[in-house]
């Protein structure tokens, strides 16, 4: 800043401006921290959510309730059933007597799949050498249906090989699970939960604040003051920035120490990622608040327009690769998408800046866009 080019009078004005700005930020701080109930909610909520979801959300493949309909009841089928149970993935909830029982079993929701050995099973095995066994899956839960049939097919395949007439051997298969040796669900879900919670809380916070000032009329007071709209926005964001950053550190630490999320990469990069993401989320909230007139509308707009799309489009639950193209585009303008990439890359993969500069850049660009549009709206309202 070319400080020396200003006249003393100008310098004084700028100094006064800084003082006003500082007072403004201070007021925002008091406003927030005095509301103890809200503060409690603001910190307890993310912690509670991360803990609950960390334990509850998982797509481990286990305890799948299945039903057995064995009309053959021969040795081989019994052995196979034994094998299936022994795999540990399945729990036999029901033994059925006849195919007509299957709809009822599915409708009661007690079993997800029925393994059906027809009465001709043994004969088919010995004479035709090919014995079909039906895996009847309740495809109202597609995922489970696919996984269950897939795993069962695998088990049957192995069973075939082991009971083969000739020596098995054939091939030795080994799998190395990269990044996630123990196939933990938390690697998939915790980053998403963190991103979702941080985004929504930050956006909710800032969206309400501007709208509240609009409603109570204090925004007009601010508009008349010499503080420029840039300063107003920045002044509002700063206390929430600190709050949200704190929140992000707490829940990431939770992820690491309670759920065993690894921390392979650089801590500095992670902190930077949190910072950039928090700013982006807060700016999004500011943007929302400049487009609405009332507090109620701001609250509604932020929660309703952010909650479901972020959940479903950010790669949190559904992999982005599986999204249809237009939705992949939308996915890219959701800040959470990029933060999830950053967390996974930094914490789980240990990636360096050369690999992840792109999400960083996108988040920063997003922030710039959000703030610019907000300022435009504010100016227009003035």
């Amino acid at each position: 800043m070319p400080y020396f080019n200003f006249s003393p009078a100008e310098r004084q004005t700028k100094y006064n401006l800084m003082k006003k700005f500082y007072a403004f930020v201070q007021k925002e701080f008091y406003h927030i921290f005095r509301d103890t109930r809200t503060m409690m909610i603001l910190f307890a909520l993310p912690i509670a959510l991360v803990i609950i979801f960390g334990y509850a959300l998982n797509n481990d493949f286990k305890n799948i309730p299945i039903g057995i309909l064995n009309q053959s009841k021969d040795q081989t089928s019994e052995k196979l059933i034994h094998r299936i149970v022994g795999s540990g993935y399945f729990v036999v909830e029901q033994t059925l007597e006849k195919p007509q029982d299957i709809p009822k079993a599915f409708k009661s929701g007690k079993v997800k799949l029925v393994v059906f050995f027809p009465s001709s099973f043994q004969q088919d095995l010995y004479h035709a050498k090919k014995a079909p066994v039906q895996l009847i899956a309740d495809a109202s839960d597609i995922n489970t249906a696919i996984n269950t049939t897939s795993y069962l097919s695998g088990i049957i395949g192995e069973f075939n090989n082991e009971n083969g007439r000739e020596n098995s051997g054939g091939v030795q298969l080994s799998s190395r699970m990269i990044f996630n040796q123990r196939l933990l669900s938390v690697y998939l879900f915790i980053p998403g939960v963190i991103a979702l919670i941080l985004l929504i809380i930050s956006a909710l916070l800032t969206s309400v604040t501007l709208a509240r000032e609009k409603e109570t009329g204090t925004l007009e007071l601010l508009s008349i003051s010499p503080i420029s709209p840039y300063m107003i926005i920045i002044g509002k964001v700063i206390p929430y920035l600190i709050l949200s950053l704190l929140n992000s550190f707490i829940i990431i630490l939770l992820g690491i120490f309670v759920f065993g999320l690894p921390m392979v990469g650089s801590v500095a990069l992670l902190i930077l990622a949190c910072f950039v993401y928090t700013v982006a989320s807060l700016s999004l909230g500011i943007l929302i608040s400049t487009r609405v007139e009332t507090q109620q509308a701001a609250m509604f707009a932020s929660l309703v327009s952010l909650m479901m799309p972020t959940m479903l489009l950010s790669g949190f639950i559904f992999p982005i690769e599986s999204l249809p193209l237009p939705l992949q585009l939308i996915s890219n303008i959701i800040p959470a998408t990029h933060f999830i990439i950053l967390i996974k890359s930094i914490m789980i993969k240990g990636a360096g800046i050369s690999l992840i500069w792109k999400p960083f850049f996108i988040l920063i660009a997003m922030t710039a866009v959000f703030i610019l549009v907000s300022i435009q709206s504010l100016k227009r309202n003035k």
């Binding site: 809200t38 509670a48 409708k107 090919k130 309740d138 495809a139 799998s175 196939l183 309703v304 639950i317």
Partner: protein, 369 residues
């Protein structure tokens, strides 16, 4: 009774006049439902395959062929060293590295030294990794059987799994996701609007103004619940109708039964919103508290992750998750065509839940307003 009508009329006037809020309660949820249904699927296809063929034999090529021919995998990279594999995995550019060892062809013909095929799987997504592993195992084992089958005349007996997908033979995700997403969006909005609306009236003083009138508290509450109950209906049926129109979701069972369930179900999120309004002081607190319950309900309802694999305490707490029941009822009625006999336990549960939470909310409301 008349008082309730007066209140309901006032409420509807306010709702429809609220230009800011109305689109978020009507248009936006429905649009979201449509868009998000397109998003919802776990289909695993176009898996990117990296090939590290140390054998470069006819057999190894055939094995690779079998992988790419299966339509699950797309060969995207040829790999000749571990670093390259590591880099590709690091960049998330690849899902599976197939490592075929030297002397693969030779060893596969011998009895005592089976070749060791290795899969390096990108396991960031553990569920996807499991599937990839299954596919890879199955394809390779099939291949080996065929390979040996050619050399061996006496085949062994094989059990053939035949998969049969009921209720959703095409494995259409949209079919099962849409009703669930509709229920979720509806519940989100109902809880939020109920909580915010009542707290707002308390903040601006209109509740107190009504307190000095002969109006009874329960009349006031019904005057709030009823309009939002209708809005819930609108969102749900608009969503389902569009689902039918655009995605051709099946409607095997009775829609009347679904409506019966919905009518009773709605009192639960309404009650929860009301309860939240009695437990907080400001609209902002109402917002965050609503968010807390909503996100819990949505993520744990069984639409995205299975309920059965949750730890016991979570399943226990989940009993209080109204969405869990709705997701199940949706599947039962729309996909499986269940009738009253199977559904009435759900209706009963929602009835009890609704009465309970509303009684609690009314009790608190009387104390705090």
């Amino acid at each position: 009774m008349r008082n309730i009508l007066v209140l309901v009329r006032k409420e509807f006037l306010q709702i429809f006049r609220n230009r800011q809020l109305l689109p978020f309660m009507t248009v936006l949820p429905v649009v979201q439902v449509i868009l998000l249904t397109f998003a919802a699927n776990y289909e695993i296809k176009n898996l990117r395959l990296g090939i590290w063929d140390l054998d470069q034999s006819a057999s190894s090529s055939q094995l690779v062929h079998k992988f790419t021919g299966a339509n699950f995998f797309q060969a995207t990279d040829l790999i000749d060293n571990q670093k390259k594999a590591d880099d590709l995995l690091m960049q998330d550019a690849i899902d599976l590295v197939l490592v075929i060892p030297k002397d693969f062809e030779k060893n596969s013909k011998l009895q005592n030294s089976p070749p060791a095929v290795q899969f390096q799987i990108n396991a960031l997504n553990n569920s996807k990794a499991g599937i990839v592993q299954n596919y890879a195992n199955a394809i390779t084992q099939d291949f080996m059987s065929e390979l040996r089958g050619n050399a061996n005349v006496i085949g062994s007996a094989k059990i053939i799994p035949v998969t049969n997908f009921w209720y959703n033979p095409t494995l259409n995700y949209k079919t099962i996701m849409l009703p669930g997403i509709v229920a979720e969006v509806m519940t989100l909005i109902i809880i939020l609007i109920c909580a915010l609306n009542v707290v707002r009236e308390r903040e601006i003083g209109t509740i107190e103004q009504l307190n000095v009138t002969p109006l009874k508290k329960h009349e006031f509450i019904l005057g709030k619940l009823i309009p939002f109950w209708f809005i819930g209906h609108f969102i749900f049926w608009a969503g389902i109708a569009l689902g039918r129109l655009i995605f051709h979701i099946p409607m095997v069972g009775s829609l009347g039964l679904l409506e019966l369930f919905l009518a009773i179900f709605l009192f639960v999120p309404l009650g929860i919103g009301l309860f939240i309004s009695t437990a907080v002081e400001t609209q902002q607190q109402a917002l965050f508290t609503s968010f807390f319950f909503i996100i819990l309900f949505i993520l744990m309802c069984g639409l995205f992750t299975p309920v059965e694999t949750m730890p016991d305490w979570a399943q226990w707490v989940n009993q209080l998750n109204p969405l869990k029941y709705f997701v199940e009822v949706n599947r039962l009625i729309l996909l499986k065509g269940s009738g009253f006999a199977e559904i009435y336990p759900f209706i009963l549960k929602m009835f009890v839940y609704g009465i309970g939470i509303n009684a609690l909310a009314i009790w608190r409301f009387k104390k705090t307003s």
